[in-house]
């Protein structure tokens, strides 16, 4: 951005003496909107419009670094879940998007495997989101019938991670 915070301060000083409540400044590289709020203070909304620039020096072929590519989508769409209810199975879904872990730490035995008996509050896996580990519970009494997500794979919110056959359901 070509505008420093000092520039914004100067603009505000100018605006303070004028009867305007709002100013928008747009160039090829940014858009700045200044607004006077009800308490007399100002707010700022800035958008950097410039597209990310590629590398100044082309990566050597042997190097792993390459030209910037468009960002990968950060929200993996939830997989359409096959009709689990028809099979009498209960879905265990990701409560929020993140990385799916089957064990409490690398090398430790998994929380559950296919066939494990679970209670509603049995921890069956972890979803790591923003460096926080979120335990996922089975939510139902039964036995783990299927595990649908690979360990350490990314799961979108609502993704079916496992299915549990509730106690009392016929095979």
């Amino acid at each position: 951005m070509d505008l420093t915070s000092e520039d914004v301060r100067d603009i505000l000083q100018l605006l303070d003496g004028l009867p305007y409540r709002e100013m928008t400044l747009e160039t090829a590289s940014f858009r700045l909107s200044l607004r006077r709020s009800a308490d007399g203070g100002w707010t700022q909304a800035t958008e950097v419009l410039a597209e990310p620039a590629g590398p100044a020096v082309l990566a050597e072929p042997a190097e792993p670094a390459v030209l910037a590519e468009p960002a990968a989508t950060t929200t993996a769409p939830s997989e359409p879940a096959p009709d689990a209810a028809a099979e009498g199975l209960v879905d265990v879904r990701a409560p929020l998007l993140g990385t799916f872990y089957r064990a409490p730490r690398p090398g430790a035995p998994p929380f559950v495997t296919v066939g494990s008996e679970v209670e509603p509050d049995t921890v069956v896996c972890i979803i790591e989101t923003m460096k926080l580990m979120n335990s996922v519970t089975a939510g139902v009494t039964g036995a783990v019938a299927e595990i649908l997500t690979e360990n350490a794979q990314f799961a979108g919110q609502g993704t079916v991670l496992m299915r549990v056959r509730p106690t009392g359901e016929q095979q």
């Binding site: 915070s5 914004v8 100044a56 082309l58």
Partner: protein, 448 residues
């Protein structure tokens, strides 16, 4: 040497912050970005962008090989590691040395001296700093003996931890064995080092830290900060200077930090953290963070010094460009960390897409951020969206401005901690100043 092109091996607000100083100094800034960050605001601000690797940090921001390869490919003279990720990793500092690239930070051996928290404790003792009673424990039996000797409550700490990670308080003897066993297993998994140590725990202490600058020869301080508003050892509000410390105690803490830095012949910017017991007018060494810190802007606000610019100046091989006597601290500054978390729902992380990003602007107000409408808040990294830093001639003026500034913040699309900051800064306890590290948990408990 003069640095002309710096690779920023980080993301988020600190990447944008470093970019700003590079721009002011006329240094070309290349951003090393993961696939999740190639379209971020810092990527748009950078002179150029190099792909670092996949979104998962282990394959990108935490990969020494990927970072050094990116610096080589970019033809960078230097790497700025920011905070977190590889910023305190001696392997990166050494790999830079081997590749003829300047690492903007301390030496590999200084990183090792403070990265291993037991070594750091030993250095603190050698530099005649007060350390809390405690020491390494090899197992449950040793832990029981040591805890009995120092008295409960105790804190079980991972030797490889730091930055508030790998800490577990134990309030009574019957919980010690289980906690030590779990802490060792966790430390092995999280830090690749199962060693733990015990320290006497001070539940009502204050977290006070001192900003240092060193050139490998001289070490000076830029005053202190108070970071006692914490949840689970993660800081939420920081201020400079630390409120309500008497002059003798403040001077003793600052001198202790400088002595620690001098003992290490420290080079670069770093922070020495202390736990202060105001009732007994005592303080104890906690750890040193050998990097730029999230809360550095409150020090910049009261000192007028651009700490990132000084990091670069020192990395260029220069001596400090000012003496202790040249450092003039005036006024008061408070920083609120605005995180993508739903604080009303157990601080549940809130990744997603930012739809609105309106921030306050005006005298004494600074906002360091990396989000604008359309910005992705990916689930792979920490939740810091923005830092609101407000300063005034004194604490009362800074606090009054901060309250007005928070009311004008509007970040939408993801949950944020703005509402929590509004409530905390309105509380009489915070207004009085000098809260302890238990303040936030107590407040949450009584307002939950």
């Amino acid at each position: 040497m003069i640095l002309r092109r710096i690779l920023i091996a980080n993301r988020g607000e600190i990447a944008a912050r470093i970019l700003r100083t590079c721009r002011q100094l006329g240094i070309e800034a290349v951003l090393a970005a993961s696939d999740a960050d190639c379209d971020s605001m810092p990527a748009r601000l950078a002179d150029s962008v190099i792909r670092l690797g996949p979104a998962a940090a282990g394959d990108s921001y935490l990969s020494v090989d990927a970072v050094v390869a990116a610096a080589r490919a970019a033809g960078a003279d230097a790497i700025h590691p920011g905070y977190g990720f590889l910023s305190e990793n001696p392997a990166l500092a050494r790999a830079c040395g081997a590749a003829g690239i300047v690492f903007i930070g301390p030496t590999g051996s200084q990183l090792e001296a403070v990265g291993d928290k037991l070594t750091a404790r030993a250095h603190a003792t050698a530099a005649v700093l007060p350390v809390a009673a405690g020491g390494e424990v090899a197992g449950v039996a040793e832990a029981a003996d040591l805890a009995a000797a120092i008295g409960f409550p105790v804190l079980v700490k991972a030797v490889g931890g730091g930055g508030g990670r790998g800490l577990r308080p134990v309030r009574q003897a019957d919980a010690l064995a289980g906690t030590v066993t779990m802490a060792m297993a966790e430390a092995a998994a999280a830090f690749g080092d199962p060693r733990v140590y015990l320290e006497r725990y001070l539940p009502s202490g204050r977290h006070v830290e001192v900003q240092l600058l060193g050139d490998g020869d001289s070490v000076i301080h830029l005053g202190d900060r108070d970071c006692s508003v914490q949840r689970r050892y993660q800081k939420l509000i920081e201020e400079a200077p630390a409120p309500l410390l008497d002059d003798d105690l403040r001077t003793a803490i600052r001198n202790a930090a400088v002595n620690f830095g001098r003992h290490l012949s420290y080079r670069g910017a770093g922070t020495v953290e202390f736990l202060v017991d105001p009732a007994r007018r005592a303080f104890y060494f906690l750890e040193m963070n050998a990097r730029i810190q999230v809360e550095h802007p409150v020090t910049e606000a009261i000192s007028g010094i651009d700490i990132v610019a000084e990091q670069i100046w020192i990395a260029e091989g220069n001596s400090l460009r000012f003496d202790q006597d040249d450092v003039a601290l005036s006024g008061h500054a408070i920083e609120c960390r605005i995180n993508a978390e739903d604080w009303a729902d157990g601080f549940r992380p809130s990744p997603g897409t930012v739809t609105t990003a309106v921030v306050p602007v005006g005298p004494g107000i600074r906002v360091d951020t990396h989000v604008q409408p359309g910005s992705a808040v990916p689930p792979w990294y920490d939740s810091l969206l923005a830092k609101l830093i407000v300063s005034g001639r004194d604490r009362a003026e800074a606090l009054a401005r901060l309250r007005g500034a928070l009311a004008r913040c509007d970040i939408g699309g993801v949950a944020t901690t703005i509402g929590l900051h509004e409530k905390l800064t309105a509380s009489t306890e915070f207004e009085a100043g000098g809260v302890d590290t238990g303040f936030l948990e107590r407040w949450l408990y009584s307002h939950g």
